[in-house]
């Protein structure tokens, strides 16, 4: 899949590039993000 990436360069300029990444790019950490989340009483 493709990903819009905003690159913030060291000289202060910014540009959007389209980058090809694996389909599991956002799951590559092997964690759905819930392990460290403790839901407080509502």
């Amino acid at each position: 899949m493709t990903l819009n990436v905003l690159i913030c360069h060291a000289d202060g300029t910014q540009e959007i590039v389209v980058r090809e990444v694996p389909d599991d790019y956002f799951q590559a950490d092997g964690d759905d993000g819930t392990a460290a989340v403790e839901t407080a009483a509502q």
């Binding site: 990903l3 819009n4 990436v5 905003l6 690159i7 913030c8 360069h9 060291a10 202060g12 910014q14 959007i16 980058r19 790019y25 956002f26 590559a28 950490d29 092997g30 964690d31 759905d32 993000g33 819930t34 392990a35 460290a36 989340v37 403790e38 839901t39 407080a40 509502q42």
Partner: protein, 189 residues
């Protein structure tokens, strides 16, 4: 002649003489105070466009004059996301996360848009390691619930190589909003 409290800069009264020596002393005091400040703001980025990921160039950090760099991001999402979480990678490389294993990089965030989560995150970068300490609240989108995250982690320079970019993204690929801010401070040696 009166003086200010901290730097003892001249505060002339109407009857005081205007002396060149007073200006020189004041300017020297300002210069010395500026040089002695422990923190310097090195990078201040406000994003000009929304994107799925923000890559911040940190390849030119000055490890000669600064012992540690503190990176303070304030990132929000374009749309409300229940328990959205910002992840951070180092050098955009799998396996080189600021956090790893079952606790990937993230800090509290972002939902709903009009009630953003409260996140505090500081990345520490030195010439030996990159580390992170975060604490944040995750606010639910459809209820009054909130979660809490609190994480500390570090990776060595041997693992990561020289830090070149920090990569910020939301765990499910939700778009990061234009106007998000990332600030890098340097701690003087």
């Amino acid at each position: 002649m009166q003086q200010t409290t901290n730097l003892h800069l001249s505060q002339w009264d109407a009857s005081d003489r205007i002396m060149r020596e007073d200006f020189n002393r004041d300017n020297a005091a300002v210069e010395a105070a500026f040089a002695a400040r422990p923190l310097a703001k090195l990078i201040g980025v406000t994003t000009q466009a929304s994107a799925a990921q923000i890559d911040l160039d940190i390849s030119k950090l000055d490890y000669t004059n600064y012992s540690t760099f503190l990176i303070v991001p304030r990132i929000t999402l374009v749309s409300a996301v229940d328990a959205g979480q910002i992840y951070i990678r180092l050098n955009n490389a799998a396996g080189l996360y600021i956090m790893s294993g079952s606790y990937p990089e993230r800090f509290g965030t972002c939902s709903p848009a009009d009630r953003p989560g409260v996140g505090f995150l500081v990345l520490f970068i030195t010439d030996q390691m990159t580390g992170l300490w975060s604490r944040g609240l995750l606010f639910g989108n459809s209820s009054a619930s909130c979660g809490e995250i609190n994480t500390m982690i570090g990776i060595s320079r041997a693992q990561s190589g020289v830090p070149s970019t920090l990569n910020f993204y939301e765990k499910s690929g939700n778009t990061l909003k234009a106007g998000s801010n990332i600030t890098v401070y340097g701690v003087r040696k």
